[in-house]
Homo-oligomer: 190 residues x 4
DNA sequence: GATGAATGAGACTTCATTCAT
DNA sequence: GATGAATGAAGTCTCATTCAT
């Protein structure tokens, strides 16, 4: 239970994400995770109390590292659109470069492992974005409708973009990225 | 002799969808399905060869019945925006009234049960929408970018709308619906 | 439980014997028997209380009909060798023409279905042969050793002959039969 | 780490043979085997992929170890009768001391577990005996009839001898053995 | 701490038996 | 009586977890 070898934990996380992407939460076993991580089954239990603990810990790590990247280079002091654009790009980038993670979070959301509390925590990481959107509405730059729907358009579209990019092996050029941003922007702008 | 109860199959499907929504594909057992459907475990195996067969059959049914509703009342002869609006509403409606189904399909997509062929079939059901969008581009009504991205915005947003509606127990009034459609339309329109 | 249709019972017996030959007692199910017999599963239980009853009844039938053929045309009044030859031929003939039956009896002998009493009954059907051999010993025509060993040679060889005949699809001509009888006779004769 | 206990495999084999003798292939379950072998059910599956694999592996082991004893002390350079006597005694001895094994092989022969290939392998182990008999025929010591029938007498009688010995709890003295050998020899000798 | 064999509860599945038609 | 769908106990097998090394 003493996470001595930080590197080994990362191997376990990576293994889990890979396997979940390949065959879903329903398709992984602790033995598979151990094998993929290059360790013995018993070793898993040195680092995680049990399967649920592993899934929950990973869920938490995913949320935290997602959150930190979503708002990197984001400066609330900048004009709205610049901030929005920054975050939009960050999320797209994260979803694509950490596609495993997105699948994992999606699968966890409907699973016997994740408790309500963790789900709330997931929602919280979008709070800075929420505030930015509120500000955009106040500045009359974007439509004055419930923030949840503005977020739906933005986040929903990003999720779909990431999936299509990965499933169809598309290379996301900056032209494509900007075109997609434009779609989103035209949708929400006042 | 007791004739094979075709209705029983529907009970099994319903039970499976309910359980998957509650605890994910990873969280269901054949016993749970049987109990939820109000039958004996063995009876499941009269109707489905095994768990995989049940999941696949249900996946197929979901796809088919989704497809049939997506394009109900859609008349390709009508103006583009009317057709698009009809389909948009249909999909939202289906996603919300059959939320179980959406979760199930999402979970199946990354699972050890569904084969590549079924995934392709899922993508095919959007073909009429694809053609409509192509037409919209030709009529210069919507942006001239790759259809996949236009679909991303539309479908991604709808998925998100459905999730938020269900998670937060929101009542979708026609005002909300129309506001959301406006977001989408403004996003894609030329 | 009322054996109304005698013909149906025979179909069930035939089906069981065929299936046991093909895949052993370990490999048959009541459903397989029913299907092979061309009846419904439930119908089996009209004629036999349960699986054990079916096996036991069939075992009994096999024993009885075997016994009746083993000694057909056998007349204790005839000279020893003639009687012995008659019985030897009868047994060979039965084993070959009812090969299924032999396999079934062999498999039953080590099975959870047959009780000790039935096994004793099986041994009893050889009693007339036993008496004949005792007589042969008294007449100094055959070796004066324990009858069980004389029977071993005779019965053991016959079993083997039947198996080889069936496994290798050999046509038993009267030359072959007589050569084999000679082997047996030379073995036991004084 | 606990190293894989090769001896455990032997325990499993022994347990299986004991149980099959007691209640036939049809009467054993993996639980019974595990319990008899003094291990947990799951452990069985560490050593054998499934039930079929266990049965097949054991069948193979039985064949191999049988074969090795059948021809121990047999020297093809010795006179025919000496060689034949040696093998005859070896087979009798094996059948009696490993009666479980004989029953198991017999039951396997008509079972859903054993494939044709294994059956062929079983027949192959008698090949040296076959050659010896061919030689006996060439030396005009034994009857000039198809070897299969000479083997029938020998092997069939031995099987019967072993069964009677075991069923009736007979002690096989060397007098009895020699008397039985004499029966066989008189049967096949020219 | 690391290992992987061992465990046994519980999952999937079968099948003897029952029962509604 | 005949049927075959339905049942659920029991069998096969898996897998989260433990433990001896």
């Amino acid at each position: 239970m003493k996470p001595r070898d930080e590197n080994k934990i990362n191997e376990i996380y990576k293994a889990t994400l890979n396997l979940v992407k390949a065959s879903g939460l329903a398709g992984i076993t602790m033995q598979m995770v151990a094998k993929e991580a290059g360790i013995a089954t018993g070793t898993l239990y040195i680092y995680f109390k049990n399967k649920e603990a592993l899934i929950n810990a990973l869920f938490d790590v995913c949320i935290r590292s997602s959150a930190s990247t979503f708002f990197s280079n984001y400066d609330p002091a900048q004009p709205f659109k610049i901030g929005f654009h920054t975050i939009w790009l960050n999320i797209v980038h994260r979803r694509v470069t950490h596609f495993n993670e997105s699948i994992f979070i999606e699968q966890c959301f409907h699973s016997p492992f994740i408790d309500e509390e963790s789900k709330v925590r997931l929602r919280k990481i979008f709070e800075p974005l929420l505030h930015l959107i509120e500000r955009g509405k106040k500045e009359h730059l974007i439509k004055d409708i419930d923030t949840t729907w503005l977020l739906s358009l933005m986040v929903g579209a990003i999720n779909e973009i990431a999936k299509r990019t990965m499933y169809y092996h598309i290379k996301l050029t900056s032209e494509i990225l900007e075109a997609n941003f434009q779609l989103c922007w035209d949708g929400i702008k006042a």
